[in-house]
Symmetry: C2
Subunit: 270 residues, 2 copies
């Protein structure tokens, strides 16, 4: 099945554009939780009917010697919720021969449906990912952090670098229509420009929640055909509560966001 | 000890600017080699008196489920050759909270002396690395691959992006003098411009060997005070031979490159 079709199915499954980031930090776990997989499993069980995707952030697993938990987590999601996408957020990118190894890490070892990558090294650094026709390649375009202005906003022929990145990705490199872009929720104006340029390319939007992005601006600027987005929230959902009820609290936060997103979509359609 | 001092000590130890990349691919191993660590160990034993640094390429370990071998490899180098630098080549970079995890991956888990990182997300994405005063942060500037021209060469105020990256890194972000830059051996003109701008900042130069970079141009443009470089070669050394004598063959290739580099340096001094 094409990646495009997988994305459509994922949005449809729970009528949801919500993506929950699985950024497990053992220091923040409720005291009765003994493993990263156990933490993730409870979050997944509590929220899988509300999301289109789960997005494990690789850095947390790498720092904590927890590749096994990541593997178990992804297997658990795919076994129990095959239509929900797994986006491995690892922001890889290297010379071609090395990127082949990173593509293998994401797709063969961890069996993710999509992976985030960094465009700085250019086309050949992304080819090994792009050639996996049935997998998603989610390329950093305009990120949600303050430092994103350092280089991404620099003007080249009167246009910021991030628009040059968007254009190359969408117009030149998207043979298998498996490119998506990362656009921070903290930049609604930029999001509007990228949406205009990128047509119906799916956009992954981190930065809602802890990072302070405004949901309504994101939906207003980013929706296309009333879909087209992965709206991602991590810490404000998974750490909503640190008691025994953390998973239920995560569900309540996720439900709130899911409702907010879909209320706007329903009004927008009318 | 400061990172700057560690670098000087590493260059001095074997009077060498040579860095050997440890990019182990089990498919290319001689048939009598049973593990990645065993392969690396033999390469290290055969070449440690010729180098200033070893540079394990993370992607190979990640793709092959070999974090344990990476850990053993780095421990083996540091136990037996404490002055030789270990550069973890992983090209990381993410929002601050996530980069903290990646800094922990490189420096706490794997105990590398330095790590390669990607500048696209800007300053705050690098701060968690930069704050490790005794560790090196080797930032991609102008890379050795063909696609490096896609974005790194775009002109901003008549200057390519990679020079803007170099300037910010060296002038604004280098509080602890622990920034180094990656500059591909395949771009000697660009190397010259970067060297002018970056003063005595150490430059990591991949692309000699398999990627076709010209050593003499690199030395001519890149040396400062007759040092200032990590000249990195991976595949053309470690896969020089696929027989039982692979480690000896690797030594011979490394010795050749070491001699070529030092002959030039000696002539240059006269």
């Amino acid at each position: 099945m094409s990646y495009q079709q997988k994305v459509r199915d994922a949005w449809k499954k729970n009528n949801s554009l919500l993506c929950i980031g699985l950024d497990p930090n053992q220091k923040k776990f409720p005291s009765h939780i003994n493993s990263i997989f156990e933490f993730n499993k409870q979050i997944i069980d509590a929220t899988a009917d509300l999301v289109c995707a789960f997005k494990p952030q690789m850095a947390y697993y790498s720092a904590q010697n927890a590749e096994k938990d990541l593997l178990e987590t992804i297997k658990y999601i795919k076994n129990n919720h095959p239509q929900i996408l797994v986006i491995l957020d690892s922001k890889r990118g290297d010379i071609g021969a090395t990127s082949e190894q990173y593509a293998s890490e994401a797709f063969d070892r961890f069996k993710a449906d999509a992976v985030t990558v960094n465009p700085y090294m250019g086309h050949d650094s992304l080819v090994p990912f792009l050639e996996r026709e049935d997998k998603g390649v989610i390329i950093l375009c305009k990120t949600s952090n303050k430092g994103s202005s350092d280089f991404q906003d620099l003007l080249i022929d009167d246009e910021p670098l991030y628009l040059h990145v968007a254009r190359k990705c969408v117009n030149d490199w998207n043979k298998y229509k498996n490119i998506n872009l990362v656009v921070g929720a903290t930049n609604p104006n930029e999001l509007e420009k990228i949406r205009k340029l990128a047509g119906d390319t799916p956009l992954l939007i981190p930065g809602i929640g802890t990072q302070g992005g405004d949901l309504q601006s994101v939906l207003k600027s980013g929706l296309i055909n009333n879909e087209g987005l992965f709206i991602s929230s991590s810490r404000s959902i998974i750490y909503a509560d640190s008691s025994k009820n953390f998973a239920q609290a995560a569900r309540e936060e996720a439900l709130k966001l899911h409702h907010q997103i879909n209320s706007w979509r329903n009004e927008n359609v009318k």
